[in-house]
Amino acid sequence: MAFDEYDSETRIFSAVGTRPVRPDGVDKVTGRALFGADMSAPGMLTGAILRSPHAHARIKSIDTSKAEALPGVKAVVTRADFNAEADNADVLDNCMAGEKVLYDGHALAALAAINPRVAQKALRLIEVDYEVLPHVTDVDAAMAPDAPVLRAEGGNESVPEGLSKNVMSMCEFGHGDLDKGFAEADLVIEKSFKTAAAHQGYIEPHACLASLGADGRGELWVCTQGHFVVRNICADLLGMDSTQLRVVASEIGGGFGGKTTVFLEPVALALSRKASRPVKMVMSRSEVFRATGPTSSTSMDIKIGMTKDGRMTAGLAVNRFQGGAYPGAPVDMGAMCSFACYNLENVKSVGYDVICNRPKQAAYRAPGSPMAAFAVESVVDMLCQELGLDPVEVRIKNASREGTKASYGPRWPRIGLEETLEAAKAHAHYKAPLGPNQGRGVSCGFWFNHGGETSVSLALSQDGTVALSVGTPDIGGSRASMCLMAAEELGIPYDKVRTTVVDTASLGYNDVSHGSRVTYASGLATIKAARDAKQKLCARAAKIWGIDPDAVTWEDGMAKPSGHNAGDHDPLPFSKLCATMGRTGGPISGHFEATPEGAGVSFATHLVDAEVDPETGATKVVRYTVIQDAGKAIHPAYVEGQFQGGAVQGIGWALNEEYIYGEDGRLQNAGFLDYRIPVASDLPMIDTEIVEVPNPGHPYGVRGVGETSIVPPLAAIANAVSRAAGVRMTELPMSPPRILAALDAQDG
C-alpha cells in the first residue's frame, strides 16, 4: 500500500471538513487557559525596562547606582550584560540599545525588583545622559540625500548612488519591455500612494517568565509564535548553548506576525541570571506600541497601461518601505506581490528598504503585500472607471492562472484566483443595489504561504488514543485542525487525539507559526507521522498473522489482509493493535522531521460596500464579502474566522489605524484610545465563501489561509470609498479629515 499518497482530488473525507469544538475551547471560555502573563513562580521578581524618550540620541552615560540602592531592587542590566559577539546583532541592539537609542521607546536599561511598584519607582532613579541627535520618521524624508543618518556605514551595494545612507538595499523583479507595453496601451495611469504604519494590535501584550541559573541552565515561559526561534535567539544574545534553555510556549493572545521575534525574553533571562531568581516581565500597552513591531509605512508610485477592452499591457511599481531603525522592511515581498495577481507581459517592480527613527518593524500578516495591493489595485480600479469597464471582468481577463509567468519569476502551478473572481461575479453581493453615498470596491490579493522546518511526533497509547506533539504555537485553533487530520488519517474519532504544543526539549526544531504555514506544514507532518505509525501498525499485524508486511493494508481504522493471497485473517482494529503493542515489539510512535516545500500560494477576491458621509468624512462599511481559495478547509469555521479577522484588520488599516509622530519624533498615540482598532459597532457581518482549489503540495490539498485575507481590504475599501466620495483616495488611513480634505480639494 502507498503510505504517501496524494489523494485530495478523490478522497472522501470523514473528519476533515467538519466543525468540532476545539480541544482548548473549554479552558478558553472558563478563564483556565494560561497566557504569557498568567504564570508565576516561587520567589519571582518583576522586571521593568527603561526606554528612551528621544527619537535619536547618543547615550553618553547611564548611572544605575541610585536604582540599585533602592531597597527591593535585585538586579540591573544594560547592554554590557549581553553577549558582545551575538550573531543577531540587530536583534540585540533592538532589545537593549548600545551606543545610541534609535527611536522613542528604545530599551536601554532594565531592572528586577520585588514587585511592580518598586520596579517602576526604581526606573525613575536611573540617570541617563543623552546627546540628542537629529531624527527622521517619514520614509520619503529618510531617503532624501540630506536626511539625518542612523547608520554611518549606509546600505549595501544594491543601492543606487545619490540616495541617503538610510536606504539599506534595493530589489527589482520583472520581465518584458515596459516601453513597448505602455505604447500598446490605450490609457496609461500613473499615481502615487502612501500608507501609514499599522500595529498588529494583538490584545495580549508581550509577557514572559524567565529563570536562568548560574550553571547556565534556563527555563522560559513565553507568549510567542515560535518558541524554538526564541530559544535560539536568546541563547545567542546571552552567550549560552541553545539546548540548555528550555522554552515553553504559553497560550498566545494574538500575534499576527508581531510575536515572531524577541523583545523582553533575553532581558528577563539576563535579569534572572544576575538576580538568581525567576523574573517575570509584562509590557504595558504603551510599550507594545512604542517598542514592538508595527508594519512598515510606505510610499509607492504605480504606472499601469490598459487597452480599451481591458487588457493590461504593462505595469511598473516603485515601492519605498521604512522598516524602523534596522534593515529588513518587507519591501522585497511587497515588490514581488505588486503584480502577482496579473498575467503581464511587461512588468517591473522595484523596492527600497529604508531605515528611520521608528521601532523596528515586525511581520504583520502577509508582510508587504497589503500595501502593494492597495497601490496597484487602486490604479486598476481607476483604469476600469475611466474606460467604463467592469472591475471583476477586467480582473478575470488579466488574472494569473496555471502556467503563466509570475511577475516575480516562477511559473504558476495550480492556483485559484480565477475561481475566486468567478465566485465574486456570481455572488449576490456583486449584484445588490447601492444606496446613496455608497460605493462598491473590488480587490484581489495574493500571498506566497510558507513551508518551513517542521517536526511532529505522534505517540500511540495502549488504550487506543493518540498524543500528538507539535512545535508550532496554536494562535487560532490549529490544534483542532491537527486532531482532525490525525483522526482522518488513522480512522479514529476526533476526540481520541490530543494535540499539545510541546516545549523545545521535547521535539526537534520547528520554525515559527508564520507564513500561514501551520495547517499546511504541521498538518502535512501530522498526516505523514500518522502514515508512519500506520505502517508500523501494519507490520505488527503482519507479525501477529505471520505474513509479509506488504500483504497488510490499512482501511477504516483497521489493519486488514490486502487480498486473498494474504490469507484469511480477522481485521485488527487500531485499539487492539495499540493494546498489544508492548507484546508485539514495543511502543509505537509516528514521526516527521523535514522542511515541506510545497506550500501552495493563495489568492482572494474581496467585495465591499462603503458609505461615506460627505458632511463628516466618516466611512461606514455596510457590506463585506471575502472569497478566498483555501485549497481544502480542514476546520471550515476557523477558516472563515481567518477570512473575517483578516478583513477586519484590513478595515482598521484602511480607515483608522495610524502611527502618528510629532515633530519631536515621539509617538503621539501609544494606546488603544488614540490608536483605534475596529470595534463591534463599527462593522457589519463579514460574509465568507471558501473556494477549494487543492494544493498539490499537501496530501489533503491544504493552502495556508491566515494571511491572504488581509491583502485585498485596503484596496477594496479605498476603491469603494473613492467611488462613493467621487474622489480618488491615495493615502491610508482614509480617516474623516483626509476624506474631507480630498472632497474640499476637489470642490476648490
Binding site: T30, E204, E251, Y638, Q644, F672, P678, S681
Partner: protein, 157 residues
C-alpha cells in the same frame, strides 16, 4: 502600609491585603490567583479585564483593590456552574467565536451582563454593548452570532 479588604468573589467570602495603588485587576490576578481577567491595556480601552462589581460591568484595571471592600465581585471563573458551562460559553465554542481567546473571558462577562439586562437584544444592541471589548482575531462576526444564539436559547426560543 497595606490595606485590609474583605469582599465576596464569585460567591466566596474573600479577604486580602493590598498596596493602596494596586488595581482590583492586580489583586485578582496576582494575589487571588484569578488570572481569567486579562490586562490588555490597563487604561479601560480594551475590556479584556471585564468583571462585574455588585452586578455592574466594569474594567477591573480602572478600580483599586481597596475599593472592593464590602462589594460582590463576579469574574469569568464564576460563570460556569461546576462542569456545566453557561449557555454563552457553550455557544462561543459551538460558533468558533474565539481564535486566540485572550479577549474571550472579558467578552463573555460583558455579554452575560447584557443578557441579564436585555434578554432579547438586536444585533445592533449586541454590537454597541460589546464595543468596549476589543477582539483582534475574529472580526466579531461569530461573537455576535454566538451571543444572539445564546440569548435565543436562554429565552427558550
Amino acid at each position: 502600609m497595606q490595606i485590609h479588604v474583605a469582599t465576596k468573589v464569585n460567591g466566596d467570602e474573600t479577604e486580602f491585603l493590598c498596596d493602596p495603588e494596586e488595581t482590583l485587576l492586580d489583586v485578582l490576578r496576582d494575589r487571588l490567583g484569578l488570572t481569567g481577567a486579562k490586562e490588555g491595556c490597563g487604561t479601560g480601552d480594551c475590556g479584556a479585564c471585564s468583571i462585574t462589581v455588585d452586578g455592574r460591568l466594569i474594567c477591573a484595571c480602572l478600580m483599586l483593590g481597596a475599593e472592593a471592600q464590602g462589594r460582590e465581585i463576579a469574574t469569568i471563573e464564576g460563570m460556569a456552574a461546576g462542569e456545566a458551562l453557561h449557555p454563552l460559553q457553550q455557544k462561543f465554542l459551538d460558533h468558533a467565536a474565539l481564535q486566540c481567546g485572550i479577549c474571550t473571558p472579558g467578552i463573555l462577562v460583558a455579554a452575560k451582563n447584557l443578557l441579564e439586562k436585555n434578554p432579547d437584544p438586536t444585533e445592533t444592541e449586541v454590537r454597541y454593548w460589546l464595543a468596549g471589548n476589543l477582539c483582534r482575531c475574529t472580526g466579531y462576526d461569530k461573537i455576535v452570532r454566538a451571543v444572539m444564539d445564546a440569548a435565543a436559547e436562554m429565552r427558550g426560543a
